[in-house]
Symmetry: C2
Subunit: 914 residues, 2 copies
């Protein structure tokens, strides 16, 4: 490694490009975001204080060897000389001392996670020199005491309190309210006190030698990369551990050198709204911290021209140049030292979702960027945010101030909700429907028979579960904001209340819940409820996205399809979901779960009768009753999706899910027995017996899906009849119905060979009866690993594949979704055993490998096999990109995710073009 270049001057960005290639991403990777941008500003001729960057590679080498790699320090010394030369100052000189800051700067911003030391180079001697130069003793000693304090805590590991305490005492003694009330002498005393504290804490003196200060500070920044805080942050934000941080050594400039000096921060456009108006603040005769700390009232950036017209003119030119150069909204920091403007930082500005979209659309109109770049600029999360109710900007800080923060949990389904709390589904529904209340259903966890309550809720809160628990999945499906696994939440169903620590919320009380962040507040927070049709910029972006998707990707397409383009479909069980999906841009239904129709209170007793039937006749009679319900549902779906395909999945779940809870019934029976109550006991016992007969040790791998159809073909025969009767009726009245019948849980081609001909016979019979023809398909879910492995054989029978990635993930990992998140998945992700929760983001190496195999093998058998995905992952951008890469024809997701998926599909197409 000797001979390697570890250090780059700000004017050496070309050398960096020579080393890593002419790729901004790689340059940022080497120099860090902050360093790369400083160097880039130097390249385009902007005034940046002289300095240099120690690379991320040096940081990584340091982590291995626990010392600077060979050559680094020498190169730093050399760079320091160049910096001295350029600044005309000298590091350690008393006459004209150079002071520098030592700042961390990783590839991706990790605000506040790593350390910074300012004013390096100050010591007892140079301080005196600085006083001469600036004639501002107060400023110099304030800077000096800050150096000692920062150095002590960052480099030497001394607690901040050790310094804060004497500072507070001094202020008290002097009657000073704020730091600035202290005089130069006070601060001089404080410097001595701080030096003494430092010596006391670590046993040696605060290093007076500037080079030693620099060396130790650099090392401290390196170390902070692997501090707990930084690691936790990276875990949470999916930043890889092996990037390392760069260190920027920058000549200190001072905005507090008088009224010809100042400092400020600005965005080139409004980061909240996206409006094309510069947005920022400055202070004359002040340091950067002062702007942020809010000690003095800042000035709006618009008035800078009044105070410092020359500098302002230069600043406006620079800002314009930066936007033209970066072609994006910039966030800049600047300091004016005695009239001279210095740029201290620039970066792409963080912005709200609304601003992101507006800026992207505006910049296309301004011809700064292409439509494609605009689509690439907007993040899927932005789109998601814009489509869910949100709390008003000021509501949360206000509530926190009032002590109304309640708890935080897993952000399971985005959006904000305000409502009255109810602790069971029936009551929730009742209060919502009869009392027209806004309700929030709170449960330890939810089950399929809670769905009516969930649908009636503005929001859902559970104390158990995880991001893929029933509550979370259903909530996302229906776009209901949801927080699960809320920390410390204790629900007392008997006393109808819930508590977190000392805060009690009773049934009927109001709470506010943010499914985007996982926060829960007591009482009502202000809400805004955006509508897609009102969001012109969003619609523009999505239209561009669709144009891009339609020209890219997809190796093979079914007959009658556009030959290119990953389509976005939606999962919808009810006509109203399908309508919403269509209004959000879905061009097909990828999954209609027919059994959800079975759970409706009017139908459930019929379903139970059907299940418990001891003879075919009784069962048939129950099925005959269900048929009109299903037919009506399907009719509504086809009508809503007129002209688009609708995939209907035949009954899937194990039958016990339709039955009353076994344990509860057992408790009732035992209680009756012990009490000697006989009335109704026999019935309960026989029901219990029947439910026990349905009991399975591992229902997820049990009698469900096509297995159930083989065991009890009458149910699916009824369903297919309902589907085709509905499609026929639609066709006859001019609606273009395109039913696709999906057989779930296939593991062996013979299952399809057994059931599919039986069902196709019914399909044909109905069409004959009704004397009508329409296009239809029969296909299967691919959700059992064996199905993926034997896809070639299965494609010999199935006309389409739909990846059920929820189950496929379960089986491929051997994780039970119902248990894993609660039991070990959290720890697995925390410990880095799994990079992400595979139920949220598709596991490309494992599950994805099976999917790729299935697509390739399936198409080898049937060239125009229609392939899609209908699992939870269908709405996840990374998973959508994977689907694009392996050649899916569509992704199907919850209606609320359709706009997100449209954007993600376009981004996938762009990313994988080359």
């Amino acid at each position: 490694m000797a001979g390697k270049k570890w250090v780059y001057l700000f004017n050496e960005i070309k050398q960096a490009e020579t080393y890593v290639g002419n790729d901004w991403d790689k340059v940022r990777g080497l120099l860090g975001g902050k360093g790369a941008n400083l160097a880039e500003m130097v390249r385009i001729g902007l005034p940046v204080p002289p300095g240099f960057i120690v690379t991320t590679e040096a940081c990584n080498a340091y982590q291995v060897e626990n010392k600077f790699p060979e050559g680094q320090w020498d190169q730093m010394l050399e760079a320091l000389k160049a910096t001295e030369k350029e600044s005309g100052k000298k590091f350690g000189s008393v006459e004209n001392p150079l002071l520098v800051s030592c700042r961390s700067g990783a590839k991706f911003s990790m605000p506040g996670m790593m350390d910074t030391v300012l004013n390096i180079g100050l010591n007892d001697e140079t301080a005196k020199g600085m006083v001469k130069l600036t004639s501002n003793e107060r400023f110099v000693y304030d800077s000096y005491r800050r150096l000692i304090q920062m150095f002590g805590s960052v480099v030497l590991g001394i607690s901040d309190e050790a310094y804060e305490e004497p500072l507070d005492e001094l202020k008290k003694a002097k009657g000073a309210k704020v730091d600035t009330d202290l005089t130069a002498d006070d601060l001089k005393t404080l410097v001595e006190t701080f030096k003494a504290i430092t010596k006391k804490e670590i046993g040696f003196d605060f290093p007076q030698e500037p080079l030693e200060q620099l060396k130790l500070a650099t090392e401290a920044v390196f170390k902070s990369w692997n501090g707990k805080r930084a690691i936790d942050y990276r875990r949470a934000t999916n930043i890889p551990d092996d990037l390392g941080t760069a260190v920027c050594i920058v000549t200190m400039v001072f905005g507090n050198m008088g009224n010809d000096s100042g400092t400020g921060v600005a965005f080139t456009r409004n980061p909240s709204t996206g409006e094309r108006v510069m947005f920022g603040d400055y202070l004359l005769n002040a340091q950067g911290e002062d702007v942020v700390a809010g000690i003095r009232n800042t000035e709006k950036i618009e008035t800078l021209g009044r105070d410092l017209p020359e500098a302002n003119k230069q600043f406006l030119e620079i800002v314009k140049k930066l936007e033209l150069h970066y072609k994006d909204l910039q966030d800049v920091e600047f300091t004016i030292e005695r009239g001279r403007l210095w740029m201290l930082q620039c970066r792409n500005g963080k912005r709200t979702a609304a601003a992101a979209i507006k800026v992207a659309v505006d910049m296309v109109e301004e011809k700064l960027i292409t439509k494609e770049e605009a689509v690439g600029r907007v993040s899927p999360a932005d789109v998601d945010t814009l489509l869910h109710p949100q709390f008003t900007l000021d509501s949360k800080p206000a509530a926190k101030k009032e002590g109304r923060f309640f708890t935080t949990g897993v952000n399971a389904s985005p959006g904000a909700a305000v409502g009255q709390v109810y602790f069971d589904a029936d009551l929730t529904e009742k209060m919502a429907k009869e009392q027209k209340q806004d309700t929030i259903m709170v449960r330890p966890f939810t089950k399929p028979d809670d769905v009516h309550g969930m649908l009636a809720s503005k929001g859902i809160l559970t104390s158990e579960g995880g991001a893929a628990s029933h509550a979370a999945v259903v909530a996302r499906q229906f776009g209901v904001p949801c927080v699960v696994a809320a920390a410390n939440l204790v629900i007392d169903l008997d006393k109808r209340k819930m508590t977190v620590n000392d805060i009690v919320v009773n049934e009927g009380d109001w709470i506010s819940l943010d499914g985007t962040t996982g926060e829960v507040y007591v009482g009502k927070l202000g809400l805004t409820d955006p509508k897609i049709e009102e969001q012109k910029d969003l619609l523009t972006i999505l239209t561009w996205a669709d144009e891009i998707s339609a020209t890219e990707g997809i190796r093979q397409a079914p007959k009658g399809w556009p030959t290119r383009g990953l389509q976005v479909w939606a999962n919808a069980d009810y006509p109203k979901d399908a309508q919403r999906a269509r209004s959000y841009g879905a061009v097909g239904i990828g999954l209609c779960r027919t059994e959800h129709m079975f759970f409706e209170p009017t139908r459930l007793p019929i379903v139970q009768r059907m299940i418990l039937a001891k003879s075919d006749d009784v069962q048939k009679a129950a099925l005959d009753q269900l048929l009109p319900y299903q037919r009506a549902d399907f009719d509504g779906l086809f009508t809503a999706m007129d002209g688009y395909p609708v995939i209907i999945r035949l009954i899937d779940p194990p039958l016990h899910e339709f039955m009353p809870d076994e344990e509860k019934l057992l408790e009732e029976v035992i209680t009756m027995r012990v009490k000697g109550e006989t009335k109704g006991l026999a019935e309960k016992e026989s029901l219990l017996e029947a439910i026990r007969g349905l009991h399975e040790s591992n229902p997820m791998m049990g009698l469900r899906g096509v297995r159930l159809s083989v065991e009890m073909p009458l149910i699916v025969e009824m369903q297919v009849r309902a589907i085709f009767e509905a499609a026929a009726d639609c066709t006859l009245r001019g609606v273009h119905a395109k039913p696709e019948v999906m057989i779930p849980l296939t593991g062996h081609v013979n299952e399809l060979k057994w059931i599919q001909p039986r069902l196709e016979r019914i399909a044909k019979a109905v069409m004959d009866e009704k004397k009508v023809q329409f296009p239809y398909k029969f296909g299967t879910m691919i959700e059992i690993p064996r199905a993926a492995v034997t896809a070639a054989e299965i494609a010999g029978v199935a006309e389409f594949f739909s990846f059920g990635t929820n189950d496929l993930t379960q089986m491929t990992f051997g994780y039970s979704r119902d248990d894993a998140e609660r039991n070990f998945l959290v720890k697995y992700v925390e410990e880095g055993i799994l990079p992400k929760n595979p139920f949220q983001t598709l596991d490309q190496e494992g599950v994805g490998k099976l999917m790729k195999m299935a697509v390739d093998d399936g198409r080898s058998q049937r060239v125009d096999l229609e392939v899609g995905i209908c699992g939870e992952h269908g709405g996840d951008p990374a998973s959508i990109e994977f689907c694009h890469r392996v050649g899916n024809n569509y992704v199907s997701c919850s209606p609320f995710r359709v706009p997100v998926a449209r954007l993600a599909a376009a981004q996938a197409a762009i990313k994988n073009r080359k």
Copy 2:
């Protein structure tokens, strides 16, 4: 298909070979077993009555078209002419009538499953001609009435009873005890009666036209291929449905033409013992049925020379020629018609397991066959049979006669057992240990905490479960005969009895159970208990098998291994199992399930304390108590396997398996609550709460295996310490311990990266403490589909793979072993959706594809990766062959299956040589 040859004369075997190739298997496929052997006998010059064969292809064509394929009938007429010419008789002639039989003959023998019609060609006129020729009116009319009866039932579908009734009446009227008491006139009358019955039943006359008889009889044989009986038989014996049956048309010859005539059956060697002595019976002046029917006492074949010296001499020559030709024990049928010997059938003779092995070994010594052929001749099932106790040959028929047959179930673990019935594990163990009784444990199903009772049993019987249920798996593991899912068995645990229909068996009563066949009898049946060391021929075969295995197969081998040869290892949890395994020829332990050691009554309370521990200290204390137990177990294993590798799997099952039954506890708690009993309630409630905390919706996919180790590393740290302390102790006293630590349920390489270094650190620490070195490995089960899919990554960490095909099958199919067999697997196999139960025979297309992928990918990363299988399939011959093909280094199975596996490994090597 016109122009195709559908019919072959017996002397046209060369033409058949020209068509299908010179491959006996294919010739049999075309001509059927019976036809091919008749033709082959003609080719080697043996006397066979003239005739011809209608091919299986004609049968298959018939199944499609529902009529003879074009050309078949014309070819049959031509062949009939050739037959007439050769026999010098004429079909339908009154003067010298040719009579023929029409017999089914499929590729594989399906005894009694398909139809035969004899004496075709007889009618009112030819009967008269026959009387003239034979001067035996009684014989002719008996033949004629048999033809009408057979034709009526087989061809015309008239019930047998329709004919039997008048026959019985006639016998009663004539005072005849048996058929042969009837006179010629009686039989003449009977012919008329039978003709009248036939007409009455079907509305037309029995066809007098011989050609019509022949045509209809041939068609009837074709039809019988798809009769329910035949289909059921094929299902049960795994004969494919598309083979079809051939039809043999053979000139009738008669052994009842006087005392120079006779008929007999013979085996060229004793089929019971394998001794090299001809074994058979004959009767003079008799027909084939008479020999079988046992109406007259048959003569031993040895005395044939006394009665018919010329024919006997010819017969002895023929038999010798046949054995030399076929090089196997032959089963022949012959008839002597007026001094002339005719061979009617020859085939490889069915034999007992003992005979199969003796014949194979003898024939090598006789230089008839090679060692390899001998190994190929013995079936794995033969070996299995010889190693389990068996009922004496006469005991079952005797018991059946006495009405002591009880029930039949799934033959879950082979061998015979006689014992007294007990209905729970504790009592079973107690009676076995304290009372020294032979016990049979009977339960609805078994669970891990029943294992002590199962181990103490001679046999196990359950009313529920399937071939892969807990009872079945454990029983096979320990070689305990076991019948599960016994039909109609009702167990009343309260009244301590079980019933099948009216038969009651009380606790303590004796029953006899045959795990090889699934039969259960009341009372004691006679037993033999074979020992491997006494079975010289078996040992000879196995030695040859090992020689063959050691020279074939295996592409890559771990360091220090023989470079070729699939090895046989055993699964053993206890030292005594390991000793048995070694005595049976195992050269390694492929799976020691450490948790079985936890279930022992003395240890279980400690285990429960460990699980419920609320602090690390409490848990550590419990683990410290367990360590010496485990160390002692491992010491015993290493000692037993001195010099051979021992793979020890770390704790695998979910913790709730170690806890008391949740439902039972719930009942107790509710009862106490309702009754207001408070004493001990709180403890029970808290235990219930703890067990509920361990509850999982799908425990099979839950917190177990390596997931548990990540969650609670202390347990496996204790286990690894115990393993290495034991290995160190062994090494120090001169035993060569070769421990291999196996991590279960790995799905992601990061799980290994997390746990393995922690464990290796302990291993090294122990070796340092004990100052000793020995070889060891760390590796993993491959039992999660994702592990197979990402095997390359996993092999970067794991030093060996062991396929846990039970779990891999579960996850790949998405079948819960605990439920599937009960719920749908039986129907799946019945309906042909699955060819076999994938828990018994490896699913090569699905699970096998993942295994092959894992072996290839794993070895691509680690060339000398040790690969084996330790699932149930390790003892299944078809699965063993698959393991050979994909390049496993060993298979590991239950100790009792080791000899079977040794044979199967050799057979796999032979079969896959080319």
